[in-house]
Symmetry: C2
Subunit: 130 residues, 2 copies
């Protein structure tokens, strides 16, 4: 069991994080991740079916790399599976309030963005914010 390469907490760059977040697909992935709960160990499989965005698996892999390189997520390798989690603590330490502000605004943003609905689209909005 190992971990895919990722920047240390101290190396996190604001511009990289903003860049990573400035994409509709990645925002949706973020929402999926956040919906898993605020516990530090909440992870999600890398499999296509686990996410509300339906794109090619290589595209998904690409977006995960962007998020990981920016320091937004952490990826644990177990066998041939990957488990992804939000780096809430590191982000909060480096950019206090940033992730929370984004997560809070996310449900409404996705609503307006329309299209892909997570299939149970009620209002689990409250779960997203820490």
């Amino acid at each position: 069991m190992s971990r895919l390469p990722q920047p240390d907490r101290a190396e996190l760059r604001l511009s990289a994080v903003l860049d990573a977040l400035a994409d509709p697909v990645r925002l949706r992935l973020l929402a999926d991740l956040a919906a898993d709960g605020a516990e530090a160990d909440a992870e999600r499989s890398c499999g296509i079916e686990a996410w509300s965005v339906k794109v090619h698996k290589s595209t998904l892999s690409h977006h995960f790399k962007v998020l990981r390189d920016a320091g937004v997520t952490s990826t644990r390798v177990v066998g041939r599976n990957r488990w992804i989690r939000l780096r809430r603590d590191d982000l909060e330490a480096r950019f206090p309030g940033l992730l929370g502000a984004v997560l809070a605004a996310l449900p409404e943003e996705l609503e307006r963005a329309g299209a892909p609905r997570p299939e149970g689209s009620g209002g689990q909005a409250a779960n997203l914010a820490r």
Copy 2:
């Protein structure tokens, strides 16, 4: 005296704001604006000399449009001059904590990005790496 078109507070979109902020030049413009103070009426002329980023004036105009269209800034037209200000209140109302978090992280980010070139070597892409 009029005002360049801008989205209403209720129309502000998270993705547009993140997009607008996910650029090194615009982050620097934001820092310049924020440095003017937190008063709601702190404005800054649109003139090239007023900003710490040295790019062509049409490029500057383009970036201001992106910021304005995203709702980050507001532009007042006086004669042949423009006066730009941060829409702090509107941003705070729509995305509480977001602007503050970005502004707080900005000084260190600009530090790492490398200071604005005092002299010469103005290659096209040399100004700020992405």
